[in-house]
């Protein structure tokens, strides 16, 4: 089936540094999402993105977070500066149309460890 690739699978950084998480969504998908999962618990919505713009973001999407997809390349999540509570697994997802009825396809996640 369709694949969403996330690079890297694991990232360890010091608190205060910048980190960029990369996502290669399904090629013909138009909607992109980031979710945060702590300790294998609930998947929590961070942000969705369409047509070059953030459509909606949750309260977890702090000012230190930003997303972009320059020129149809990777869909990225940047955190600058990072904090200890940003340690989690971040999942990227994409869908062909908006989320209400469409299946989301998820990547395998990037485990971010902030020291």
């Amino acid at each position: 089936g369709p694949k969403v690739l996330q690079i890297p699978s694991h990232q360890i950084i010091d608190m205060g540094q910048m980190v960029t998480l990369n996502c290669d969504p399904v090629s013909n998908h138009l909607y992109f999402y980031w979710y945060k999962q702590i300790l294998g618990q609930q998947m929590e919505f961070l942000v969705n993105f369409y047509n070059g713009k953030v459509m909606e973001k949750s309260k977890l999407f702090k000012d230190q977070f930003s997303v972009e997809r320059p020129d149809g390349s990777y869909f990225t999540l940047k955190i600058q500066p990072t904090a200890l509570e940003d340690s989690a697994v971040y999942f990227c997802a994409s869908s062909l149309a908006s989320a209400s009825a469409e299946t989301l396809y998820f990547g395998s996640g990037t485990r971010l460890t902030v020291l």
Partner: protein
Amino acid sequence: AQSVTQPDARVTVSEGASLQLRCKYSYSATPYLFWYVQYPRQGLQLLLKYYSGDPVVQGVNGFEAEFSKSNSSFHLRKASVHWSDSAVYFCAVSYNNRIFFGDGTQLVVKP
């Protein structure tokens, strides 16, 4: 406010036994409903989804779920589980272009 409740954090069953994982939602209308499965170190994968029509929907690997409007539930079932079904299962509801996940139920299948 909308919510998804999976009352069982962990369910243990023997291989070959039947399975039911519970999910209840709260929303004024009928939302779109999903079950996703997460295997270790992987992202979520869709098992099945419900929009309308027949309240029993069939999914992959022998899973099915039944929508009940009166109970606001969407329970997942399987007649005979296999050890490879061990994973975390998430119920989700979707409306207004947002998807909300439950806390997940960890399924452990004993040999």
